[in-house]
């Protein structure tokens, strides 16, 4: 009995201490996190909140006296704005195509790199080059490559007999979209390659060997063993790049500025033009809010997928 009593008391003290420690440590955590959180909320939440409020006004920079509350007028206008719907179509076309093509090519490259002997491991570093080049530089590189008059693409295609006459890549709606997708694919392949290459390292070798031992060919082994094991990486890297491409600005801005006409005008470029070329701050905020919702949904999906076990 006394032993039990003693044990009980001891447990209580331990619990108390643990509770006290927990309380103390969470307090410390709050104190340590506070400065960062305050700065983050000021830098991220304040502009977001300001844009949200602005979207209910009719503020235009060149009309400082005009600043009345218009409730949902900007959102109603948006529903009937042809340009907005064009940018929705362009953004989805550009984003989905870019990510899909990048992932496929990256998958091939990553598998090829995985098969290479160790002495070629330096190639992984080389393949990163397009990824580390700033977007604005990539934009200018491809602007000149696709140039009608002096571009190397036209030069080579003509020499190879693919085209008879030079093609105005950046001045044809469909071709301009292809050109900006090519530039982005080139820029983003390294990211996917790196992610997939890391994923391939986690595929159990014994499973692969067992598949071959069972008589599977290379394709069957890839489809039934490798692919299921890197599925998580593929989903996460694709979603990450989907989110990034929704916000992609410098390459498109440099190469086409959204043109010709509105054929490569994506959401982020549209918002920029509305705010800084047409000075329609409130309407730009309303359009921005719609995209915030879209991206928020995608981010939630991304976080859920990160937590999921594959």
């Amino acid at each position: 009995m006394p032993n039990n009593k003693f044990r009980k008391k001891k447990n209580n003290v331990q619990l108390k201490n643990r509770g006290g420690n927990l309380h103390d440590s969470s307090k410390t955590a709050v104190i340590l996190l506070a400065p960062g959180l305050i700065i983050m909320s000021f830098v991220i939440l304040y502009p977001l909140l300001r844009a949200f409020i602005l979207s209910f006004y009719n503020r235009e920079l060149t009309k400082p006296n005009q600043n009345s509350f218009v409730l949902f007028e900007n959102f109603q206008r948006l529903l009937h704005d042809d340009t907005f719907w064009t940018t929705v179509k362009n953004t989805f076309t550009f984003t989905l195509t870019t990510v899909f093509i990048s992932v496929i090519i990256a998958l091939v490259i990553a598998i090829a790199l995985d098969q290479l002997p160790k002495k070629f491991s330096g190639l992984r570093g080389l393949i990163l080059i397009p990824w580390v080049i700033p977007g604005i530089v990539v934009g200018f590189l491809f602007l000149y490559m696709f140039d009608y008059d002096v571009g190397i693409i036209n030069f080579f295609l003509q020499r190879l007999g693919v085209i008879e006459e030079y093609v105005p890549w950046l001045m044809d709606g469909n071709l301009a979209m292809i050109a900006i997708i090519v530039a982005h694919v080139w820029n983003q392949i390294p990211f996917h390659t790196l992610m997939i290459a890391a994923g391939l390292k986690t595929v159990p070798r014994d499973l692969q060997e067992a598949a071959f031992a069972e008589g599977a060919n290379r394709w069957q082994e890839f489809w039934h063993v490798t692919l299921p094991n890197i599925k998580g990486i593929l989903v996460i890297s694709s979603l990450l790049m989907l989110i990034r491409n929704f916000n992609n600005f410098p390459i498109i801005f440099t190469m086409t500025g959204g043109g010709p006409g509105e054929s490569t005008l994506t959401s982020v470029l549209h918002i920029y033009k509305l705010a800084f070329e047409k000075f329609q701050l409130s309407y730009a905020s309303a359009v921005g809010m719609i995209w915030v919702v879209v991206l928020l949904v995608m981010s939630i999906v991304y976080i859920r997928l990160l937590q999921k076990e594959y």
């Binding site: 920079l61 060149t62 329609q280």
Partner: protein, 431 residues
Amino acid sequence: MSKVKSVCLLTLLVGLVLMLVACSAGETSSESNQIELEFVNWATAEKATEEKINKVIDAFESENPNIKIKPVTVPFSEIQNQLTVMSNGGNAPDIAQVDASTGVSLAAMGVLQPVDDLLSQDYESDLISSYYDTGLYEDKHYLVPWTGGINGFWYNKKIMKEAGLDPNKPPKTMVELDSAMEAVKKLPDVIPLQFDTSPRAFAATFQWSFMATIDKIPFDNENVQVDELTKYGEWLRKLVEKEYTLPGKKLGEFRPLAAQNRLAFAFDAPLFKGTVQSFDDAITDEVFNETWGVTTLPAGEDGKSYSAIGGSDHFTAVFEDSEHKKEAVKFLEFLANSDVALEEYVMPMGNLPVTSSAAERFPELKESPHMKVFLNDILPTAIVPPFGADYADMATTFATQMQELITTKTSIQEILDQIQKDLDTVTADNE
């Protein structure tokens, strides 16, 4: 011993700190009388102008030792959004170089200071009124003219000769221009005409002269008449279909072609000469004058031609938040009208001066074959687009949608009607 060492070290450290404090205090007191003016501009961003403008700034600083100019370099294509962000974010510079559209937009935002009461009487009365009035917004002048850049029609005499045209008879009408472009197009690697069809407000200002000459202006402060621009629309579509120009290019992107002798006709400012020469040292004044001539834009059906101010003319502006407005204006007058500025920057770059007295002080201006034409023939054809609170919005919409006209087969009238509808929405918002 170690104690002595520590005391010595401590004394040395304290002495050093005191000395530094004293020095910095001395600097502060000597610098406290000096005013620093932040000058946002693209002149220092471009190779062709950087060295020249720095010489002018140095000259101003030695004449005014209490004023220091701090140039902030921003490329031309970024000037509008950078100044919009800076001034609306409470971080406006003292002064900035602007084009007319950006300048008047900033005036409409309420971030610029009217200069009517700041400019010296001598300078104000000396200014050529068509330049000065371009910066007029709600009856106040907000822009200080710096360099005159009205566009003239440049023709490459060597290419014309090669194409079997008389190099001394540039096209006088739009019909003649079309025939000349057809002849020139037969030459390999030659682009017949420099024409800005980029999706930006500047392109609309550039096209303004062609619209006024061929058809009519697309809008003014009261009316939008884009749906009546069929004649211009047809001409523009033909220009691209027949490959007489490079679609989607900005005005400046044609200038290297001019330096390579691959451009037959250009509609550009007097600075075309200086810029072309900056690409190749071999293009001396003599070579340039032998190659290029300049005249008014070929006339339309009514026999008249126009040239819109505001495209390549450069202005400066003083910001409302500047604490040194008087000093700022002093510098701006110096930039535009001092002998140093005219000799080192305005004239060598091939710009037109913006004051009447400049031509009297520098008679060589009137002797220069190109300047003579600009001053006597082209300047009188000047028209001013309706710069104002909505101009940037309307001009950007117009230029963007005119790209549809040159890149699709959609009916011209359908495109013009769509632009009309969009611009009507902008003007309706004001009612």
